[in-house]
């Protein structure tokens, strides 16, 4: 096809808001009336905030994801199955992308990326022995040592079992976040939590299916 009539116009056709504009209504709950607000109030209503639980969630998830990336790093030299390797690489990439998002969310708010209280916020894991995981689902130091020592099909099996446990922990962390009625109102955090839920649930299913065929 020919687009010979392409026409370049560098004009401003922005119609300015002239004269009277109608009132801005802010409705009440169903059955209630609406109130009239100013333009400044209307804009203000679009803003959202965050609470401490949101900040802790982001900080803790970075710690959590760091371990997944460490686990994937072991795959190259120790894994046997190309299928497990490809899956692991994909998990590593998506966890790294998510870590960048979390770091940026915290960084743009001048919040530290490291949690001051890496063990806080998950009552089920409060009994901290020498071999306690940092976050729900994270592999304990002993589990990580066992993984790093294994190779071949045994590594693949431990990797999949460990990553399923690890992902399940992330789902639990999202669950705990959404259990807090004050948390998860920032759209970036709630979208991110949705993403973790959806992607890691799907990856768990895939890992379970690969594990059953090893």
């Amino acid at each position: 096809m020919s687009l010979t009539t392409a026409l370049l116009v560098a004009a401003v056709i922005a119609a300015p808001v002239v004269g009277q504009t109608p009132p801005i209504f802010n409705p009440g709950a169903p059955g209630q009336g609406s109130r009239v607000v100013s333009a400044a109030e209307a804009v203000e209503l679009s803003r959202t905030g965050y609470v401490d639980a949101d900040v802790r969630f982001m900080q803790h998830m970075i710690v959590h994801h760091t371990q997944a990336v460490e686990m994937v790093a072991l795959l190259e030299s120790r894994g046997a199955s190309p299928l497990v390797r490809r899956l692991g690489e994909r998990i590593g990439q998506s966890q790294a992308a998510e870590m960048a998002l979390m770091q940026e969310w915290l960084g743009s708010r001048a919040l530290p990326t490291a949690a001051a209280d890496p063990h806080a916020g998950h009552a089920g894991h409060m009994a901290m022995g020498a071999d306690a995981p940092l976050m729900p689902g994270m592999l304990t130091p002993a589990q990580m040592t066992a993984l790093a020592a294994a190779s071949g099909p045994e590594f693949d099996r431990l990797f999949l079992q460990g990553m399923i446990q690890h992902h399940q922990g992330a789902l639990d962390m999202v669950d705990a976040l959404l259990d807090d009625p004050q948390a998860g109102e920032d759209p970036t955090i709630s979208d991110f939590a949705t993403s973790v839920n959806a992607d890691q649930s799907a990856e768990i299913l895939r890992m379970q299916s690969i594990l059953s065929e090893l």
Partner: protein, 618 residues
């Protein structure tokens, strides 16, 4: 629009080049054209157009814009600087910067509907209505009610609005705002009474488990007093403590999971405040085994395919009630539903394609035998129309319906390279009712507006376009056209950051004055683009001329016959109808050459029938 999809595409970025080689081997790469390097600016960007004229451009309504709300994903340099500053703040060597004032898209304009000469434009912060009966849009109503994305539809005096974010409150308030704040969260479909523009009221709010990303009206085929709403929620599942009908999880662990379904809401039109969910059909179930998760499981097909999420949701559903059909764009699949019983839609076919990252929306052609699906690769917040982006990724997939089965035919992508500062991917559009052709106008975010001809599903091509340069030359701010719809003779396009555009078709090589005139004559009182109705063209010289123009363009009519038709149309235009001649012409046109293309055969037949009726006029 989906911020989180950026994650998937970032993860895929490392493998994009490999995928690009494979994909581009199958389809021509997209090249630059007159709209590829336009000057930047929020309100004074350079423009390029072909076959379209911009009639009006309306700045955002008061209360729905703040330059500080412009947002784009941080660049690599910005991200590094942020991390450095955070470290410095921790070390006590720098002061923290103020937190961003707005979350992404806080004031973004979104989807549209038309009713009673008024254009309704959704926004993440509420909606606005414009009177368009005098041409230039005049703002007549502003309602602020945050919660995103503000997908909306109209029925009579009722306006329905989608709310998906956790921050949504039953009473349209916001935490931290002045005055009384309702603690009760709302995610779902709001219903407003807009009969009195000086006193709009919320009359109902139907809570759903995954909120509402988009929704679609489905009129009851039997009861004019009943309207159904198909609700598509794509967000996380709410806790049962917050909404008792909801529970999460994969169906293997929880057969009651709120994933893997849509919500069917029944609205009694004489008591709309009683609107409620009547069913949550398992439209993704395996037809043989009944397994709830019966479609795409998520992941990547092969080594060069797109990464796509599991099909446990629809992003958008378009219904064609006169056909009893719905087309669902549902994460990893496109699906076709039989909706003759609207409370119990049943899937008749499904499509998967390795080039589709996120099945996003669907549009039927007028005959109902083709569907144009869009792929929102990157969630709408990424630059996906650059030279290195595959021509089959983030594109339209054109499918046909053959014996009730969906069959993928070809891709169409905006045929113009866009810059890295422009978020660009296939997005919302609607049919332009030109008889004899399947034309759709479509928004591509900062890629602008494009009209695609998909009459031949294997050879889609662009007919016209309008585009602006990026908001900023050096950094991508998420902006551009969210939706571009044909409403009663004009194209209305909502612009995320810049407001609203109104455009008119201009005749050219690919679209004649008669074709435009025939389309501009199709009028409807209410238009909700995802609830399609069949256009009916009254016999007129323009309609006849439109078919003739198309046949002449494709060499689909023998020259002598074309001349006779031309003469007859000119006479008719002049008020003279030779009835006997029209009858003869009808018979001559009825002889369809064996080698005629399918579309030309249909045009000859339509023209023959038109002259047949003309010959019998009393």
């Amino acid at each position: 629009m989906n911020i989180r999809s950026l994650l998937l595409s970032s993860a895929a970025a490392a493998t994009v080049l490999f995928g690009a080689v494979a994909a581009q081997a199958q389809s021509p790469a997209v090249g630059p054209d007159a709209r590829s390097a336009l000057s930047a600016g929020l309100r004074d960007a350079g423009q390029a157009a072909s076959g379209l004229t911009l009639e009006y451009s309306v700045a955002p309504a008061p209360g729905f814009f703040d330059p500080d709300s412009l947002w784009g994903p941080p660049t690599a340099e910005e991200a590094a600087a942020m991390r450095a500053r955070a470290a410095a703040v921790e070390a006590g060597t720098a002061q923290p910067l103020p937190a961003p004032k707005y979350s992404p898209l806080a004031l973004a304009n979104s989807d549209m509907a038309m009713s009673g000469g008024r254009l309704f434009v959704g926004n993440f912060n509420g909606f606005n209505a414009y009177d368009v009966t005098q041409g230039e849009p005049e703002l007549v109503l502003s309602v602020v009610c945050p919660g995103g994305q503000g997908d909306l539809s109209i029925h009579g005096n009722l306006l329905f609005m989608s709310v998906e974010q956790n921050r949504g409150r039953l009473d349209c308030s916001a935490r931290g705002a002045e005055g009384d704040v309702n603690a009760e969260r709302f995610r779902g479909i709001r219903i407003f009474d807009i009969s009195d523009l000086s006193a709009p009221r919320q009359i109902a709010a139907v809570q759903t488990c995954r909120g509402s990303h988009t929704h679609t009206q489905v009129p009851s085929p039997t009861d004019p007093n009943v309207l159904y709403i198909y609700n598509s929620g794509t967000s996380s599942v709410r806790k049962s403590g917050e909404l008792s009908i909801c529970s999460d999880g994969e169906p293997g662990q929880n057969a009651e999971t709120a994933l893997y379904s849509i919500d069917v809401i029944k609205v009694p039109l004489n008591a709309p405040e009683q609107a409620a969910i009547v069913s949550r059909p398992r439209i993704f179930a395996d037809r043989e085994t009944g397994e709830i998760a019966g479609l795409w499981k998520g992941g990547r097909y092969g080594v060069a395919g797109q990464e796509s999420g599991p099909t446990n949701q629809c992003h958008d559903i378009t219904v064609y009630p006169e056909m009893g059909l719905a087309a669902g764009a549902c994460s990893g699949n496109g699906i076709l539903l039989d909706i003759s019983d609207p409370e119990h839609p049943s899937r008749v076919s499904e499509l998967f394609d390795p080039d589709m990252a996120y099945w996003h929306s669907a549009t039927f052609n007028a005959a109902g035998d083709k569907i144009l699906f869009t792929d929102e690769w990157g969630g709408g917040v990424g630059a996906r129309c650059r030279a290195q982006d595959p021509a089959t990724w983030g594109a339209d997939l054109i499918a046909t319906i053959e014996d009730g089965r969906l069959v993928g035919k070809n891709f169409f992508k905006l045929p113009s390279v866009q810059t890295a500062a422009e978020n660009c991917v296939a997005h919302n559009g609607s049919l332009i009712p030109v008889p004899g052709r399947d034309l759709m106008v479509q928004a591509w975010y900062q890629g602008g507006i494009s009209i695609v001809d998909f009459t031949d599903p294997a050879k889609p091509f662009e007919v016209a376009y309008f585009d602006r340069g990026p908001v900023d030359a050096n950094r991508m701010y998420v902006a551009g056209h969210w939706s571009a719809y044909w409403f009663n003779g004009r194209i209305y396009a909502s612009e995320i950051a810049r407001g609203l555009d109104v455009l008119r078709l201009q005749p050219g090589d690919n679209l004649s004055a008669a074709e435009i005139a025939a389309a501009e004559r199709i009028m409807a009182e209410t238009i909700n683009p995802q609830t399609q109705t069949r256009p009916v063209w009254e016999d007129s010289p323009d309609v006849a001329q439109a078919y003739l123009d198309q046949l002449a363009r494709s060499n689909g009519i023998e020259a002598g016959l074309a001349g006779r038709v031309r003469t007859a149309v000119e006479q008719w235009r002049g008020g003279r109808v030779d009835k006997a001649g029209a009858g003869e012409l009808s018979r001559a046109l009825a002889v369809i050459p064996e080698n005629a293309a399918k579309a030309d055969g249909a045009r000859l037949k339509a023209l023959s029938e038109l002259f047949g009726r003309l010959g019998q006029r009393g």
